[in-house]
């Protein structure tokens, strides 16, 4: 009996998967930019929170931008060499 499966042409297309760390990096970077922006705005319009003088949003924003930037660049999707 003929095995029909072998007659079916199969096209193998290689799909590169996005590294999850790239996704996490982009997410952290976006959060960082938003929080850093709000932190800078709070210089002229301080938020009604305790210890506002320490500008937690600026430090938190910088940390997230650095961390997110590192992961975004380190795991940037590149085409695999043939």
């Amino acid at each position: 009996m003929e095995d029909k499966v072998h007659d079916i042409p199969v096209h193998h297309e290689h799909h590169e998967m996005l590294p999850v760390w790239f996704f996490i990096g982009v997410l952290l970077l976006i959060y960082g930019v938003i929080i850093l922006y709000t932190g800078l705005r709070e210089y002229s319009h301080p938020a009604p929170v305790v210890l506002a003088r320490y500008h937690a949003s600026i430090w938190g924003g910088i940390l997230l931008v650095v961390l997110g930037g590192f992961y975004t660049l380190r795991f940037w999707p590149r085409k695999r060499r043939p």
């Binding site: 959060y31 938003i34 932190g39 709070e42 938020a47 929170v49 938190g60 997230l64």
Partner: protein, 355 residues
């Protein structure tokens, strides 16, 4: 910590505002009356450490399913060891904000069951602390993290529920010859029903002092006796299926029975937790210990009275009849024992610091 005046300021403020020692692990555990939980060190070591913690790490499907997905034995061993490093950070996220809240929040926190207008419960500490210190932006990130943590735990538990029901109960016992599509549908319905059931059970928390009391009560009902069944089944060649079944049933029923007895007559708490000074959290720990012991005794007795399985039937199931591949040829830094020893050292140092 800056607001509280550093660690020393935090300790001083806690002592000013509330009674009891909240900042030492072992010093106040010499007597039931010496600590806010109303528990003795035996409850912590044998109930929490020996039964509840071991049970959680070895039988909770949420934890075990990660190790089950491992590519080899070494990865399966490394999964809980790596997780334990992160688990040791949890007190920084869970306990430290609670202590800081005791020291700096301008109002007194009350148990969940006593919440009224203008009062806040212990369960609200993290959102209250976020709102106190974080402006727009950071506050959003904090709330997002809380919701993400909740969703992650919820997703893991609901998928575990769907898997166990469909694969371990429905397929082998209720509907054996269904198609894959049928079981997929059952699994999906399980997910929906699991979410609805968990929303319903969340309302039960309002009857408890805090979420932790609720969780420990459930653990003592189900995980503590299950741990006894699993550990005996894995390590004792003489254990039988009937022994396991009756042991587990006796452990679970006795645990729920002890809980019901204390609800109906709170004075009986002293018999479960071994002291008139014991409080509900102590009851949870000792109840877990009792239900574990009842499960062990019943499993051993019933197993000895029933027909044992042959050695060939136990191949690959019981420790003594299973060949464990050695990881002696790996470099030391890739062996689980090396990283496990690291956990033990960090654990010891933390005990010393917070003794």
């Amino acid at each position: 910590m800056i607001d509280a005046g550093g660690w020393k300021g935090l300790v001083a403020k806690i002592h000013e505002r509330v009674q009891g020692d909240y900042v030492h692990l072992w010093q106040p555990l010499g007597s039931f009356a010496g600590n806010p939980m109303g528990v003795h060190w035996t409850g912590i070591v044998f109930g929490l450490g020996g039964v509840i913690a071991f049970g959680y790490w070895t039988t909770d499907f949420l934890v075990v399913q990660r190790a089950m997905a491992a590519k080899d034995l070494r990865s399966a061993k490394m999964a809980p060891i790596i997780a334990s490093y992160f688990k040791m950070i949890v007190p920084l996220i869970v306990i430290l904000p609670g202590l800081l809240a005791l020291a700096v929040l301008p109002f007194k926190l009350v148990p969940e069951s006593a919440v009224g207008p203008g009062l806040h419960s212990y369960n609200e500490v993290l959102p209250l602390m976020l709102a106190r210190y974080c402006g727009p932006g950071l506050l959003g990130l904090g709330v997002t993290a809380l919701i993400a943590g909740f969703m992650s735990g919820m997703a893991g538990n609901v998928s575990a529920f769907a898997t166990v029901w469909t694969y371990d109960i429905y397929r082998p016992y209720i509907h054996k010859s269904g198609s894959d599509k049928h079981y997929l549908h059952v699994g999906r319905w399980c997910t929906i029903i699991g979410v609805i059931a968990s929303i319903g059970t969340a309302y039960l928390v309002t009857h408890f002092k805090s979420i932790m009391d609720y969780m420990q009560a459930l653990v003592s009902f189900f995980i503590a006796p299950l741990f006894a069944t699993v550990i005996l089944g894995m390590l004792w060649k003489r254990a039988t299926a009937k022994g396991g079944f009756w042991g587990l049933l006796a452990g679970t029923v006795s645990s729920i029975g002890m809980y019901t007895m204390v609800v109906l007559n709170p004075a009986t708490l002293r018999y479960i937790a071994l002291s008139p000074d014991a409080k509900p959290m102590a009851e949870n720990l000792y109840r877990a210990l009792w239900s574990w012991m009842i499960c062990v005794v019943v499993t051993v007795l019933v197993s000895l009275l029933t027909q044992p399985k042959t050695a060939s039937e136990l191949q690959g199931l019981v420790y003594g009849y299973t060949k464990i591949p050695s990881d002696g040829d790996l470099p030391f830094y890739k062996r689980p024992i090396f990283w496990g020893a690291g956990v033990a050292v960090v654990f010891g140092v933390l005990q010393y610091i917070f003794w």
